[in-house]
Symmetry: D3
Subunit: 205 residues, 6 copies
């Protein structure tokens, strides 16, 4: 009934009858294999979330492996439904998040750090964050979310690559730039879409 | 102890001894007065959240009045910690949100609508959304959040107006544009900051 | 499957396949039109909750417009599943809530206030509260709840107008009055029921 | 710092340093002793909540023993912050709750039942409920809440015995009765207050 | 659809159409009757949880009656999804729980107490706890959980009586004992299984 | 004020004034360095939880690196306050969890699996689980929890190594073995305590 071709979904999906659950419902493989980072941002993710690991249903946790080509950028994005904790396995990443402006005396602040293998960094729920591979070698991170379906929302894709497109008068005003620039940026985003299409399956599939 | 000049805060702040609480702790005035929209986006907010209405502490709800000058844009933003429900009181707004890319077969989709007085629209937690005044007259909306401190995060400000600035190599790569364009956009955002400085106080203050 | 004529419901109802959701699932109109206040309490509500705005499902927020005839009373009631934040749009309301008796040294306290347009007041979850129009002109308020289905429970209706009726020995003892008085009060409540019948649809329907 | 004579409280109170916690922080005695039911409703409660059993802090559960004199009434009340599950230990109770009016086609419904020893009944969060001892012998129940501080709010006390009193015009309109009746009922409630004063301590104290 | 012979379950099960719910959906009987404690641990439970009292669905609370034969042990167990509050109705119980080792400077600590009728004790969520009848007479307790389905997990059964069995090399290493001892302990647990089979129904069934 | 030598703690600890927070509050290093596994179980953990990474406060997520010597066992344990998702980085682990006995027709079931690098496995909240290194080479895993302070509770330590000890009559009855065996097992557990003392700091400290 959670068949994507069906009209009716159930909140949190169906789960299996406990009599029929097996260990494989709590298992997936493939996080040792790099995702396909052959796209212009050079980042790929292999996810273990409720869509690829059904036993996570109702448990409120999920995981991803992230692969970064040299100088690759996991572009500024949000996870709308989860906080994230990332550990660097290989390479060197420059990471950061920007605070929102709620509360007295708070401006948008950038909190950033260079991370080396074994370093851990936290991205609080809903805030824009990024990781950038600052070396000419690959980098790998393992990251987790306190949601079974955290969401992944690349800001540039959402703003300039949505279907349908956001009116370019709105984006020009939002970014204080000429519409020609907006139209140019919008034209870039079909290809970045590749990253998203890859996001839910390991490279081996 | 929640004095912003103090180092130690308590999660959820202190609250008053029930013996000393009064009706005024559950009250604020001023949502009948337009906020100061004299900034280049032409939008202002007057908030009733835990920072301006202490009785909201622990209750998980807050409210804002939004004023839109002619052709004003409440620029694409997120509320990192709340879903939002907006009702138009006056004028005509074009509103929308963009879905994230979590789950199978999902692209960034724009869900948008023209709203007239009395129309209600919902913005799910964490998703980028905007409101645009499509008329040459003012517009007013009342909006609510299921958090006492929902957060307000203008995407363009966070990306191009943060303190310190995000490295322009990163933004150029993220938006697939030349660094000159990034540098130009970054130069715009001190003024948009005015909107944020205004956000926590009614015009009357 | 959430057809009220069906026996089987799903917690939180079904939601639509993300592939088939549209902007209209996050929209409703009609909060500019007064509800039908032609009942003896003189108050009507137009709700935007999960029953009338399906996109609210799982989002934990809802909204109502409240219309008050001159000297109308939104009788003492509770919202069993939500805190409420109300803003006065038009007119003058005398509002209040009564604390419960939990915790040391607490008695039932009345916290009340006269509200004018633009004033905001908070009613904490589960507590009895009321709004009274103290003028000979109409009043309007917009109110929100941190639940998609907050519940609305007029105390007098629940106690004296339930189906079936509460035994009048119990009510006489509860209110320390003669059963004749209870029987008289119980006889009033079929008509107050009109308010409830009206509560889920805008006047325009 | 949670001294009721202090102005500053901390949400959820302070808790002890784990190094200094003892088994007694998770313990209280006295639920074998009847509470003092010598008040005109004839019901008394002995509570084990966060105010009398500090180890409950943050655990979200609490308990009470209820004693009913012959023909005693635990008057219609709400627990604003918890659902309740009650088991009859001794005697015969007539119990019920009234649904609120949220959702399509729902009227205030009374769900009631005669309970004998060993019978269990559930009162959903926020709904008005009561227990009535229908025999000329004592009755005893043990009841639990899924909150460390559920709240206890006798409707008649809140409406007719609050401090200060609710304006009698409002109550007369709410109950559709003459103000003389309201004034008479209001005059009853100082004595019912005794029940509340007793509610937080066992009879032995 | 929550038929245990069906493959598809719904999180939190289905619930009834509000139009068809009756008081009996919030009711069960039998907690006055001792459970069948004729098993080698001498303890039996009669549960009122969502499996035996459907109205508990979504309410997050449940209850059990526990009967202890002379010198009976409710063996060390966890409730994986709830905190528990227990009150002794009859007899004398030695109870305790063991803290976990999270946080600085914390070792596994045993917090234990001798309980007499009317004594209340709290077992925090997820911690191993036990009750032991220290007298040659029966004991009875009423206990509650802040979950509609708290889970009940006897440690010895889980470790030595699972289906299939845990590899005895693992258990020998875990307990630092010879495999012969593990094999012997494993051989005990079919009979302790009786306690579990009895756990969901009152003796009268 | 969360100094473990202080008596007064605040739930969820104090947090820093947002004006004074820095990126280092969201950072820790050292997960690239194996923990000290020189204890008889041969497993060590390096934790990034709220005790070692203050920015996790209120975010509800944490992480650990686990190192396994050849044939090492992460003994059967529970995390009382979190679900866990584990990914194997190096080596081969035999892992499993045992279900509890809640719900109809459920026995304690062992769900187990051999995991290789890149394999992911889920351990639901509160259930007993273990990991065993089945090779003569080291193994490494990265694991995460949906709590900032998940707790770590080795069953054998809690039962046989608590302070003070659990009465050996109780353990003998629980495990259906002679008290001599219990006394012998209890004598083993001081050394296993080493694992716990190591659990909160990386090897480098």
């Amino acid at each position: 009934m959670n068949d994507p071709n069906s009209h009716a979904f159930v909140n949190g999906r169906f789960y299996m009858n406990p009599e029929h659950v097996t260990a494989d419902d709590f298992f997936r493989s493939g996080l040792n294999m790099p995702g396909n980072a052959s796209n212009q941002l050079g980042v790929a993710g292999v996810q273990a979330n409720v869509n690829t690991l059904p036993g996570l249903n109702t448990l409120g946790i999920s995981s991803s492996r992230l692969d970064y080509a040299p100088y690759a950028l996991n572009a500024p994005h949000t996870n709308p439904r989860a906080s994230e904790i990332l550990v660097v396995v290989e390479g060197t990443l420059y990471v950061g998040f920007i605070t929102s402006t709620s509360g007295p005396n708070m401006k948008n602040k950038l909190f950033s750090k260079i991370l080396h293998p074994g370093d851990v960094f936290v991205f609080p729920i809903g805030l824009i964050h990024f990781q950038f591979n600052v070396r000419k070698t690959n980098a790998v991170a393992i990251t987790r979310f306190n949601s079974q379906n955290a969401g992944y929302n690349i800001i540039a894709n959402a703003l300039f690559g949505s279907h349908p497109s956001i009116n370019d008068d709105i984006l020009a005003k939002a970014f204080q730039v000429d519409k020609k620039i907006v139209d140019y940026i919008q034209s870039q985003y079909d290809r970045v879409g590749l990253l998203l299409d890859n996001y839910d399956k390991p490279n081996s599939n």
